[in-house]
């Protein structure tokens, strides 16, 4: 028996429609923004503040000059947060998966809770608890709270999928804990670690709530600066700043796509 319209076909059509709608919804604002930076810049021309004669190019130069401090802070911040999150999160995930101890389950749950805490609460907590600490240190702490759960989750999943047999076999072949980690566990974790690093980078680079509340006129992240731009500058300037903000994220995601080959999934040989 065959129905004129099979439920499977309906489901597939609906699925495609939703995917297209989502893609359009996500891309459309970007198109508008890009248009804002490139097209409007010429319309505004001389009238756009600071973005003098050079059209779009001049506009970007202007924005970079305006927010270079924030850009450097954000770069320093992700440069600190990404390695720290991996260095803390990877051994922690390994301990939770491979060497569980009494109470490790609760501890793991506790480590995930920052994801459910509003940024404002976390920021206020950090200010009250360690307000005298260097502001950059507070930013690192705040970002770690939001990014560590991502590392824990991704690495945990990778370890779980992998199972412990490879590590057991390595031990039976004479590899102690360090050699096992270096020659078996870590090479196999490379895809998971790269994915974690990418997620941490994206979250930390775009994090607004904590960064905004902890910002000072001197120590300010780029998303916080972006907010100020939208509230105080003209639209072409804000649009150009947005594109600068997006610049490092797009290549990172493209890189991970390109890396998704056979060799990469198998883990890197050492």
């Amino acid at each position: 028996m065959s129905l004129p319209i099979s439920p499977r076909r309906v489901a597939r059509t609906a699925g495609i429609a939703v995917a297209v709608a989502l893609a359009v919804g996500l891309v459309a604002p970007l198109v508008v923004t890009a248009a804002g930076a490139f097209v409007h810049a010429d319309w505004y021309g001389q009238r756009s503040e600071g973005a003098a004669a050079g059209g779009a190019l001049g506009l970007f130069r202007y924005v970079l000059g305006l927010w270079s401090g924030a850009l450097v802070t954000s770069l320093r911040l992700v440069g600190t947060v990404v390695p720290l999150a991996l260095l803390i999160g990877t051994p922690a995930a390994f301990a939770f998966r491979r060497r569980p101890f009494p109470g490790s389950g609760s501890l793991e749950t506790l480590a995930m809770t920052p994801l459910a805490i509003p940024g404002i609460a976390l920021a206020v907590g950090l200010l009250l608890g360690a307000g005298r600490a260097p502001r950059f240190g507070l930013l690192v702490a705040g970002h770690l709270a939001y990014t560590l759960p991502l590392v824990l989750k991704t690495v945990s999943n990778a370890l779980e999928r992998e199972g412990a047999d490879l590590e057991r076999v390595a031990r039976s072949l004479g590899a102690g804990p360090w050699k096992t980690a270096a020659w078996v566990t870590l090479p196999r974790l490379v895809p998971g670690l790269v994915l974690s690093a990418l997620l941490v980078f994206a979250v930390s680079w775009g994090e607004f709530n904590v960064s905004f509340l902890l910002a000072t006129p001197i120590v300010q992240t780029f998303p916080a600066a972006l907010y100020l731009t939208y509230t105080t500058n003209s639209f072409p300037v804000a649009a150009a700043a947005t594109l600068i903000f997006l610049a490092p994220i797009v290549p990172a995601f493209l890189a991970i796509q390109a890396l998704g080959g056979e060799e990469f999934r198998r883990g890197l040989s050492v």
Partner: protein, 371 residues
Amino acid sequence: MKLEVRGLSKAYGPGRAAVVSLSHVFPEGRISALLGPSGSGKSTTLWMIAGLTDPDAGAVLLDGRDVTNVPAEKRDIGMVFQSYALFPHLTVLQNVAFGLRTRGVGKAERAARAREVLETVRMGGFESRPVDGLSGGEQQRVALARALAFRPRILLLDEPLSALDAKLREDLRAELFSLLRALALTTVYVTHDQAEALALGDELVVMREGRIEQAGRPAEVYHRPASPFVARFLGAANLVAGDVSTRGDDLCLPFATIEAPAGSEAGPCWALLRPEDLEVVSPAEADFTAALASAQFLGPVQRLRLYAGRQELLLDAPNDLAIGDEARIPVRMKREKIVLFARGEGETPPGPSVPPPGAAAVSDVFPRIVN
């Protein structure tokens, strides 16, 4: 290298005992097959010997030295896992050389030695291949080569053939067995496949619920099982409820009374009659006659399903024996093969039952013939 376990125990939580006070001396340079149904504790025992699972109590001794607290990586025990667990990020050669690398053997020497071992498992020429392109049989050989390359003192194999399909398993079995024999290493081979265990082991150790039920040469365990459990677990078995007369000289079965085996104890018993210990004879030689329910041609033999009264019996007849339309088949028991076990009053036949191939399907199709 002599391997001994003493009072080894392991429980995975309260009431979840896996191995219960297990003691055994594995003969030096021989292959011991550890056989049992799943959950009988055989793999846990193997893992405790390897040092990958910590025992709750007891000791593992290598040549008399207690290694219970020596970590797995310092025991020099080679192990082949059920899943093979080849390192997917390494080539075949790098996999095999791994145990030499951990021991600090130089690159050139470990490559040479790994090549040599690959030759012995007939995997020469595969050195630079990635392992995920290998077939199941090839993976199994690489896993074995990897466990042997560093010249372990003991070799442990955890169901090394169970991941393969039936045909390949048979082919690889003979090859694996002759290789293991040639190595003359103290080897413990865990399996739940009775045919594998019977064919392979110099010694057969049958486990049940974390304990050793019986250990001995395979033929001895097969012919003289220590319990109905062992009898049923190894091969097909007819277990018939009977009685030995008060003076201990008559064995009364529901369908015949014969002379009891020498030294039988009076009282209720289980009589073990293997299908091959029953034969179709001329009516004059018969101990009893039985109704034929079905005949299954298995190749080397044909397996008859008979009913002697209400008692179902399996009989392996020669494959060229013509079975006509006779309603009654005359059957004789090979008396010297009968083994008796004590039986409690009203006891049902002890499990686990390993049904002969196709038996369940046959009984579903054929109506019970009761005369």
